[in-house]
């Protein structure tokens, strides 16, 4: 079971083949497999989709990992999406899909049983996510056993923060995978699942699986993400505001005066959203909200980035803006920071849907010089347009919509993927509120957490279930039941080696540990921890350099 079955797709030559990798037996899967494959092919900047051994077989394990070169950071990046994609890869016996090359004309792919058909995408070129999804759904069939992946005009027009949509309600959101699809001439793909899986030690596996399902359904375990069972990924809005960790109006403030309009309680009582679960999850991790005849997914990140960050408190306006971002295929977080940057640069006030919709449409269409410049994200734009001090990106990537303290910022700067969820620095900060800490402990705790998350991301564990699967004995038993003969020591060694493999890749991609790109505004507005000091931040970052990265 440790051999890896990888589908290689060459868009330039319109060829595909499956390779069995016995040389990758020691990389588990997910981000581990993606990193190993990317390392071998980095010069060609491939797109790699990979899953881990738990994907689609266990609850809370629905994440597919995408590894690619980010147009925002220019380095190796990862992004994760749920939906049915991981299940369709699992039930096609594919551990990874490696996409290389560029198609001279836009194509979409139909992947069945490892066989790839390259199809003319002209009927959906220039169309956004909803229409493209509908076209692929109605044209390609495989109802009930497929996953549909597509980009909108954001990706086609190479907006650096474009996302890739999965099954309508899920996205590879951060770091610009949509732009990479657009550059490759790949409009999307449909993958169908035709195979079955027989578990080696079924009695042990079924009993452990049932325990996890029960724990998630009951929602009583302290290891489940706080608030998750009631509000899914909408949870945390009021709490973040209460502690003063919410970025408001381009980080002019850390608390939003109109929080009553956008707290999770107000969203749920006024809109009665419908829950959505990725494959195998017994509780909804997302909620979809009605907008005319559409259903729009909203979570903490999209609500805060398209709400308080740009000064909006009207829920209908936030849903409408989120729908536009979803349809164009844009990361709502980066879009929020682009809008809030324009807000400050031009002294605008966003209050009307119309002006905002017009602005977002222009950011995608890029018919003006300013909108072309903004297509690279706020950091790149600010070099040309001004406002470097308040262009809220960290090393190229628009920051996450949390402002809790030092660990939140360090986690994004020194975290190897730059995605805050991969270090959970914002959660570490919550435990530090009102307390002093030493720099070594903070950096050490962040790295320890990042290594654990690397392991969980190699298994395809979803963010909300990390607490359950952080029990290494459970992971070990589950792997054994699936036929993996890994020892606990091997698991630890794998995680350690993966961290330094990723660090090596980050350094090779031009990352400098002597030049951190942090906008001054970070030090001018209080975080939940209080006002952050540049010297203290640099001292913590230097611990990485002196203690861990030598």
């Amino acid at each position: 079971v440790s051999q890896k079955r990888v589908l290689y797709i060459d868009l330039s030559r319109k060829k595909s083949e499956i390779k069995i990798h016995s040389d990758l037996e020691t990389v588990l899967g997910g981000v581990g497999l993606g990193t190993a494959l990317y390392n071998d092919l980095a010069e060609t900047s491939p797109i790699i989709l990979s899953i881990g051994p738990f994907a689609a077989l266990l609850p809370g394990c629905s994440s597919t990992c995408a590894t690619f070169r980010s147009p925002l950071t220019a380095g190796q990046a990862e992004s994760y999406a749920g939906g049915w994609l991981a299940a369709c890869m699992r039930f096609s016996h594919l551990d990874a899909i490696v996409i290389n090359g560029r198609s001279p004309a836009p194509v979409y792919l139909v992947i069945t049983d490892g066989d790839v058909k390259f199809k003319d995408a002209s009927p959906i070129v220039g169309r956004n996510v909803f229409e493209s999804f509908r076209y692929l759904s109605e044209t390609e069939g495989f109802v009930g056993k497929r996953s549909i992946v597509t980009i909108g005009k954001g990706g086609e027009n190479r907006v650096a923060y474009a996302s890739v949509n999965v099954d309508n309600y899920h996205e590879f959101s951060r770091l610009g995978l949509g732009s990479v699809f657009g550059r490759a001439g790949l409009k999307g793909f449909v993958i169908s699942a035709t195979e079955s899986i027989e578990v080696k030690n079924d009695a042990l596996f079924s009993s452990l699986r049932q325990e996890i399902i029960t724990t998630l359904r009951e929602g009583t375990s302290k290891n489940i993400f706080p608030g998750f069972n009631k509000f899914g990924n909408v949870a945390g809005i009021k709490f973040q505001n209460d502690i003063g960790g919410m970025p408001v109006r381009n980080l002019s403030s850390n608390r939003f005066g109109e929080i009553g309009n956008i707290s999770e309680e107000s969203w749920f009582s006024a809109h009665k959203p419908h829950g959505i679960a990725s494959v195998g999850n017994p509780v909804p991790e997302k909620f979809i909200f009605d907008l005319q005849d559409m259903k729009i997914p909203l979570g903490y990140d999209s609500i805060v980035s398209l709400g308080p960050l740009i000064g909006l408190s009207n829920r209908d306006s936030i849903i409408s803006l989120r729908a536009l971002a979803l349809d164009y295929g844009l990361d709502p977080v980066s879009l929020g920071f682009v809008l809030s940057y324009i807000h400050e640069l031009e002294g605008l006030t966003f209050s009307e849907d119309f002006s905002l919709r017009k602005l977002v449409t222009e950011l995608v269409d890029q018919s003006e010089k300013w909108s072309k410049q903004l297509s690279g994200g706020v950091q790149a734009s600010s070099v040309k347009m001004g406002g470097v001090d308040f262009a809220l990106a960290l090393n190229g990537l628009e920051m996450a919509p949390y402002f809790n303290g030092y660990a939140t910022i360090v986690g994004q700067l020194a975290g190897l993927s730059q995605n805050l969820e991969d270090t959970e620095g914002h959660r570490l900060d919550i435990g530090l509120l009102g307390r002093d800490f030493d720099n070594f402990s903070l950096a050490g705790a962040l790295i320890q957490r990042e290594k654990l998350i690397l392991l969980l991301n190699s298994l395809s564990v979803d963010y909300f279930a990390r607490g359950l699967y952080a029990d290494i004995s459970l992971v070990f038993s589950l792997l054994q039941s699936l036929g993996y003969s890994w020892s606990k020591e091997e698991l630890e060694r794998f995680t350690e080696e993966l961290y330094y493999l990723k660090l090596g890749a980050k350094k090779r991609s031009g990352f400098s540990q002597d030049r951190w790109q942090v906008p001054e505004k970070i030090f001018k507005t209080p975080s939940a921890y209080g006002l952050l000091k540049e010297n203290r931040l640099n001292e913590i970052l230097n611990v990485y350099k002196s203690e861990y990265w030598t």
Binding site: A56, A87, F91, V143, S196, I197, N281, P282
Partner: protein
Amino acid sequence: MAKVLSVADERACIGCGLCVLASAKKISGKYSLADSPIIISKNRDGLFSIDIDDAYKHRLAEIVSVCPVNCFEVTEEI
């Protein structure tokens, strides 16, 4: 009369597919999407449809407890 699995509340479905996997396992002993007697698909209104293969519905009564949002019920075949 035989007890059969039937759909009680389709609009509650969250699309988790636990019933799809559990019914495939029940019928074939393997986890699968393609060989499952239950198909979940997305409607035009953005919610989900549930289809149970008539040939297997009398063998799937226990699936009723698998659904976390009570989409199914067990009825007596007429």
